[in-house]
Symmetry: C2
Subunit: 273 residues, 2 copies
């Protein structure tokens, strides 16, 4: 069964997408998706309404509409469409209002917007991205005292995407350091990392998955061979154990999962942006 779904917002529509996906993933249906951000005026809202109505006329199935719009005038236009309209935030605001016993003060663009009140936090987040890029892949081992976490692992085990996700989503300054084939004869924790043992976090990965990822990069190379991958991983895991470095296996985890597990294991607080 296929259904069409619209994610509509007066802002980025990221919240509508994330929540809409979480809800829709509970049902065994395939989706034809449209995301329409920045529906900020009557003309745009009417255009969207027409698109929804035309789809309904064609299919005789209500398009699913997940929306979040602050202005009641613009919202009303969407609500008058022939879609199944679900105001994603309001569904939770009404019961919460009862519990808090205060009136909501809705304002547009709050969730992913830039306002005077969050500018300092936003700048810190951009600074974390800068720091993380400057300390990617062992480029620089200077200023490691400013890192909040230092990821370790072999080439292509997920260090860089995880570091960037930590910076982007949580504003965390994440350095990362690679162990290469040259390190394997006598693998050791670099002297420069030793003072920061409490910030170290290792990644490992199944050799089969690592080999497949490396094949994409350098086909039929020694670098990508299963034997080389097995050896590097065995060496690195032994190093983690010997030095009491906490680590996880990234094979079956997304960057979101690796990042949130890392924060959980290291006991770091999550700041939301």
């Amino acid at each position: 069964m296929e259904r069409t779904v619209f994610f509509i917002s007066d802002g980025t529509a990221i919240t509508a997408e994330v929540l809409g996906h979480a809800v829709l993933s509970q049902f065994p249906i395939s989706l034809n998706q449209y995301t329409i951000p920045f529906v900020e005026d009557v003309a745009k809202a009417n255009e969207v309404r027409q698109q929804i109505d035309e789809l309904f006329e064609q299919t005789q199935l209500k398009p699913l509409v997940f929306y979040s719009i602050v202005s009641s005038d613009i919202r009303a236009i969407i609500e008058q469409s022939k879609g199944y309209c679900q105001n994603i935030v309001q569904a939770l605001v009404a019961p919460l209002q009862q519990e808090l016993n205060i009136e909501p003060l809705p304002s547009a663009h709050r969730t992913h917007g830039l306002t005077e009140s969050n500018l300092i936090k936003y700048d810190a987040r951009i600074a974390a991205i800068d720091y993380t890029l400057a300390h990617d892949d062992g480029i620089s081992l200077r200023n490691l005292e400013d890192a909040q976490v230092i990821l370790l692992g072999v080439s292509r085990c997920g260090k860089t995407p995880t570091s960037l996700y930590l910076a982007m989503q949580f504003g965390i300054r994440a350095a990362n350091y690679p162990f290469t084939a040259d390190d394997m004869d006598n693998i050791q924790l670099p002297q420069a990392l030793k003072p920061f043992h409490h910030k170290l976090f290792g990644l490992t990965i199944d050799p089969e998955r690592l080999s497949a990822i490396r094949q994409e990069r350098r086909e039929n190379s020694r670098y990508a061979s299963l034997r080389q991958c097995r050896m590097e991983i065995a060496e690195v895991e032994a190093l983690y154990r010997k030095n009491n470095i906490r680590f996880i296996n990234s094979t079956n985890y997304s960057v979101e999962e690796i990042s949130t597990k890392l924060l959980d294991i290291l006991g770091m607080s999550r700041r939301m942006y």
Copy 2:
């Protein structure tokens, strides 16, 4: 007024945080926040319940609990706590079930997890991050035919964080190219970029904000001076206009807003990860 809020999940808790923040931002209250991901067994759930109950005993105010947990046994433990418990996904699943007239098939870890069915999409997203890093800041002008968008702008106007966000969130291969002080005497669109006019997207920024950002990097430099910032921005905006390059002013926008506006203006589809 301050209230304590818990975001609890059997997965990353990212959805619970994003939606919880969207809902709570509607109310003028300050928050004391705890995020507890990976609540996957009874022991962990009991621990969390105890934490909630203790807070209630101390404050006599119900902690706000936004949660998303698939297992009914584990969910029941949280629901028996003394918090104000809001199942964030379920609030929208029940009405949708009526419309779709099919039973939900809940499964854990779907939203931000890595499964066999989304592995290919996930690998494409990691490849987009790799591409974007390799084409950051004009490092490489090769393989621009593989870019889906090429961002232009002066130093520190937001190109790099925006490119990385596009790759991370939407799996988009985003190159970016900087115009430097040396380009200003006779600013021109580089020959290498001309074949890709349809992918070009310019950023601009208010000179005052640019100067403040550059001061953080090189205090009291010519680079950070308001005069230099004004000149560079005037030159770059003139270039955009002369070459019919679409652009936006990033001053008051977050990377989420810049990215989603860019996709909207270029008519690119958004894939969710």
